[in-house]
Subunit: 172 residues, 2 copies
DNA sequence: GCTCCTTGGTTCGGTCAATGAACTCACTGG
DNA sequence: CCAGTGAGTTCATTGACCGAACCAAGGAGC
């Protein structure tokens, strides 16, 4: 999908968005970034994705302005990937696709969402049922009935926490 | 993405949705179905997609309950693909991804949307700015400033028309 | 000072999917 | 009888994805 053989000749803005986001794994990477995953190895633990593919996706998303790559320590240079404003604005798309999957494909969701302030549920639009539109940072994620992965990153993610809050896995 | 090598081990409903919808071309096929494209050859004219891939995507979407394949004539048996209720419910996702692409990747949209009854613009959520939530059938699509394809199907699509209304290309 | 471990990748062969061109088949209209 | 259309299928080539192995730059332990 990436270079050359893209959605050339397509005339809609959707095709341009899909050129960046439509590859395998890409939206799942963005989803986890919004859930608070920051580091290369944590993405890898949670997604079980080949490292070469993950490196490619992170580079594309960084170049596309969805994630920002920034150093979090200097001595061995290490980088983390955080969602930009553009990345955060993908939250409604990601949430709604998840809701659609639950409704039409089935299965229980492993995590649920509510307005952190008032505890209100989210509408399919990501609005709070009581308070209206929410910024993702005001949404709390908490464990639901569905199956959960059992790696350190996923375990950290299954404690109640806000979206965008950096995720720190337990020290193994 | 399709068989076997899927998002196995992923625990979220998003990954299940992407298993059906995340392949190359799939969301563009659904988008065009919502825009009113019905026939195999019309999808092909508008998307410039290899026929083998189009046949595969239509079969997957039909099996996944997003499109319905139904005969529109019997003598040489011919079928058309129409969005199911589940397919129509993908409209907010498709619209929002398009809006995101316009905002963050740029480019002018070839088609715009408004509430057919009152002429009001759409919010990013697909709600009418004046009247609130809309069914896709109440949304009118009309030409915008962006570039347009120049095939018979796209020309028919660039006349003002409602979503979901079957598209009949000019008789060449 | 030496060795092992962790993080964040890169390289590589094998496999799987996408592409475009050619072909099929059942009609239909002239 | 012949060309044309709609809806595909078949096939060889190219590109993408996969998992495993490898690499490099620091620590940590001894």
């Amino acid at each position: 999908m990436a270079l050359g053989k893209d959605y050339n000749g397509q005339d809609c803005t959707l095709s341009r968005a899909l050129e960046l986001l439509g590859e395998r794994w890409t939206l799942l990477v963005v989803q986890n970034a919004i859930y608070g995953v920051r580091r290369f190895s944590d993405f890898q633990k949670r997604l079980d994705i080949p490292k070469a593919v993950l490196a490619d996706r992170l580079a594309n998303l960084t170049e596309g302005g969805v994630l920002e790559r920034r150093p979090y320590q200097a001595s061995p240079p290490r980088y983390e990937y955080v969602p930009t404003e553009a990345g955060v604005e993908l939250w409604p798309v990601i949430y709604q696709l998840g809701v659609w999957g639950k409704r039409h494909i089935g299965g229980e969701p492993p995590r649920l969402f509510r307005h952190a302030e008032c505890g209100g549920d989210l509408l399919p639009s990501t609005d709070c049922v009581r308070c209206g539109p929410l910024h993702p940072g005001d949404i709390e994620m908490y464990p639901g009935p569905g199956p959960k992965r059992d790696d350190p990153v996923s375990r950290a993610m299954n404690r109640p926490r806000r979206l965008l809050e950096p995720l720190v896995p337990e020290a193994s």
